[in-house]
Symmetry: C2
DNA sequence: CTTTTCATGTAACAAGTTACATGATTTG
DNA sequence: CAAATCATGTAACTTGTTACATGAAAAG
């Protein structure tokens, strides 16, 4: 359901094609709201049918550029102001709950893996930060706030995992 | 896909009915992996058909108690050891990306709302901590690690939101 | 002229949500 | 005996994933 609003929100910055949006999702939105090519094209079709978007230009190879309509902007604002974010799933944390199915050594390994994963992720976010050409648009402005969030989240993830690994009783080897 | 492993993992602690599992999801797993009643019953049926669970007791009102089979435990371990967690969606953060659709006052309001939300969530986690009767099982042990994660996450959320609100330029009123 | 990039669309399937439907047992 | 709780199941719908299918245009 949120994908539709992501599309409306991005198109508020200016018209774009499905292909353009696909690229944007691949780089900057992937960590926040992953979407596949097929989903994007399908959703753009529905949004245009509903009058929230309109095709405002055609290019080579069947390229279609979509623009946000007044109705689309109104619907985006309504969503932002009048609806609550839905609870989200955290698969790595679900796995923590279930770690009792493994030996303590394996559980420690998983937590160490989470710590390394956080470090890798932090590097990826730094790279993204350097890679994106931030402009003066709202998406860049708020995108930087979201990026800072990602960095803090990964720092916290790493610290928690390092702490959690010390909580598992027993020596470093030979349990269960 | 993860729901099936959540069910297998919980049943590793001991047999339970669909109803029991439903309660557990409502209280302690809701923040990590929400699941509906219909989803749980459907999945239990599939898991039993696949031989990963078996019905080991019947009670009043058609109650069925499921137990983890050896195949089920093996499949749970395989998932934990050999598969990668999938990327997860963060709707509140998607909304941050799209805040340019609102006035700056409204954007600040949203961030302030996120800060309050984090505080409320922290309180709810403290209440949960006090409410749950932690036993000596693995689910309790690892559940406490996950709970600590939740507390740290909410603390970070609140700090980030308080910082983010200061990043939005302009006086406290009268823009856009 | 071959490969890469641009560009769209759809079909089949899996996962998750909402709503409906039913009824036994326990508690006050 | 009325209300709350226990207990299960399924149908319709929405959302998301994987895979297939096609082809124009640009770059080397």
């Amino acid at each position: 359901m949120s994908l539709r609003y992501a599309l409306l929100g991005i198109l508020r910055e200016g018209p774009a094609s499905g292909y353009d949006l696909m690229q944007l999702f691949k780089v900057s939105l992937h960590n926040t709201w992953p979407a596949t090519q097929s989903q994007i094209y399908t959703e753009l079709g529905k949004l245009a049918d509903a009058g929230l978007l309109s095709v405002t230009a055609r290019g080579p190879r069947g390229r279609k550029e979509y623009s946000l309509t007044d109705d689309g902007l109104a619907e985006l604002r309504r969503w932002l102001l009048e609806t609550e974010p839905e609870p989200h799933r955290n698969e790595p944390m679900l796995r923590v709950f279930l770690l009792g199915a493994l030996t303590r050594d394996q559980a420690r390994e998983y937590l160490t893996y989470l710590e390394k994963r956080a470090a890798r992720f932090t590097d990826a976010l730094e790279a993204l930060d350097a890679d994106v050409d931030w402009d003066n648009g709202d998406l860049s402005f708020y995108g930087r706030l979201a990026l800072e969030y990602g960095k803090r989240l990964q720092a916290m993830n790493g610290e928690w995992a390092a702490w959690a690994v010390t909580q598992i009783p027993g020596a470093a080897a030979g349990d269960d």
